[in-house]
């Protein structure tokens, strides 16, 4: 168990180090988040000027849709990157599979937290969203970022359940 934990930490540390040097996943996520926020802002920017309940629902839905698609776009990258660079073989021969999975899971969760933060800030700026309960909003965002089920089927189900709670944003 100690070996697996140490290997997990090594995988996580390596992924962070690689990401800081290449910005492979972060740049893609940032580009998606920024372009989505700008596009939504240009398309429905006038919504931000209104403050009726229906507008708040639409703003919330748009935010969760942006988060969902940005996450789907970026989550697989840490695995895909290993395949594209053909480092998978070296990793498979050296590391316990559980450690690789756990290390990349934690890395993806951290990446999602950053993505949540950036996307939300962009939406706050471009759509002039007002947050009724900031503390609850942060908690919901953190929970959304930490909800990364192993199978896409669960991911879709979980995302729709969060998206159906517009009142929390």
């Amino acid at each position: 168990m100690r070996v697996v934990l140490a290997a997990t930490w090594a995988v996580l540390r390596k992924d962070i180090q690689s990401e800081l040097r290449t910005r492979y996943a972060f740049n893609a996520l940032l580009l998606f988040a920024a372009s989505t926020a700008v596009a939504v802002s240009l398309g429905v920017g006038f919504i931000g000027l209104q403050r009726d309940p229906q507008t708040i629902v639409i703003q919330s839905a748009l935010l969760w849709i942006a988060l969902l698609f940005a996450a789907l776009n970026g989550l697989s990258r840490s695995f895909v990157q290993e395949e594209e660079r053909r480092t998978t073989l070296a990793l498979r021969l050296a590391a316990p599979p559980t450690a690789v999975y756990l290390g990349k899971l934690v890395f993806n969760l951290l990446l999602l937290l950053v993505l949540d933060t950036v996307t939300t800030l962009l939406f706050l700026v471009f759509l002039r969203v007002e947050i009724a309960n900031p503390l609850m909003f942060v908690v919901v965002l953190a929970l959304a970022a930490s909800r990364r089920p192993p199978r896409p089927r669960c991911r879709a189900r979980g995302s729709s359940s969060w998206a159906s709670r517009p009142g929390e944003s």
């Binding site: 090594a10 180090q17 660079r85 073989l89 070296a90």
Partner: protein, 232 residues
């Protein structure tokens, strides 16, 4: 498909190597029984059976597409055989190849390391995931052994192809494995690099088994046995 396994006694190098071989400390053996491998409908390997003991070196040769690299991938568990049995016997236990990760060092053109990390960082990472605690001096010693002394701090992306090949050896030797699997061992290496490889193969005789897949006739001298693969 024709498979021929022949003793390699006609080469004087065998006697020379045997003379240098002391009693192997790790009594490991490799067993293949009726191994076959296919890619879809195309059979690449069929009915390969052999046993290799500690201190022995097996050369696998044959033309392109005859299955040399495939056989090496089977030996390290990166690919599963279509049929047959393959295991390592070590310390009274049998290990399937993928369960024998800690026993195997693999060098191949397919083996890529992290270009955005330095050679030193690559080795530190792979040592960590293997559960090894290596000091910086120990990592430097491994790098020096493969001729990369003083270049461990450079990013792998800035390495030449020959230096990358040397780093692959450092990766493979990091945990002092009793099984060394080498696919085209001297590819992209200069003469000094090839000499380093020769010394590593020679040293491996004291540790365990070496299997080499090659088309270079100069590398036949490393082996005790030659397994010739002929596409059928």
């Amino acid at each position: 498909m024709h498979v021929a396994l022949s003793p390699f006694s006609q080469y004087t190098m065998r006697d020379m190597n045997t003379a240098h071989t002391t009693t192997p400390p790790a009594a490991i053996s490799l067993h293949l029984e009726g191994i076959a491998a296919s890619y879809g409908a195309r059979t690449v390997l069929s009915d390969i059976s052999l046993t290799l003991q500690s201190g022995e070196v097996l050369i696998i040769n044959g033309p392109n597409g005859s299955g040399k690299s495939t056989l090496l991938r089977l030996l390290c568990g990166l690919q599963q055989p279509t049929s047959g049995t393959l295991f390592y016997a070590w310390q009274g236990r049998r290990y399937a190849p993928l369960a024998a990760r800690h026993l195997i060092g693999w060098v191949a053109p397919d083996l890529a390391l992290y270009r955005e990390l330095s050679g030193h960082e690559n080795l530190r990472f792979f040592a960590s995931v293997r559960g090894l605690r290596c000091t910086a001096a120990e990592l430097d010693a491994v790098l020096a052994r493969v001729g990369l002394g003083g270049r461990g701090g450079d990013w792998v992306g800035a390495y030449s192809s020959g230096m990358v090949q040397r780093l692959r050896y450092a990766y493979a030797l990091l945990h002092a494995p009793p099984v060394l699997l080498l696919d085209e061992p001297t590819i992209t290496l200069d003469e000094r690099g090839a000499a380093v490889v020769a010394s590593l193969i020679h040293a491996q005789r004291a540790l365990g088994i070496t299997v080499i897949a090659t088309n270079d006739p100069r590398e036949l001298r490393f082996g005790d046995y030659v397994l010739t693969l002929v596409p059928g």
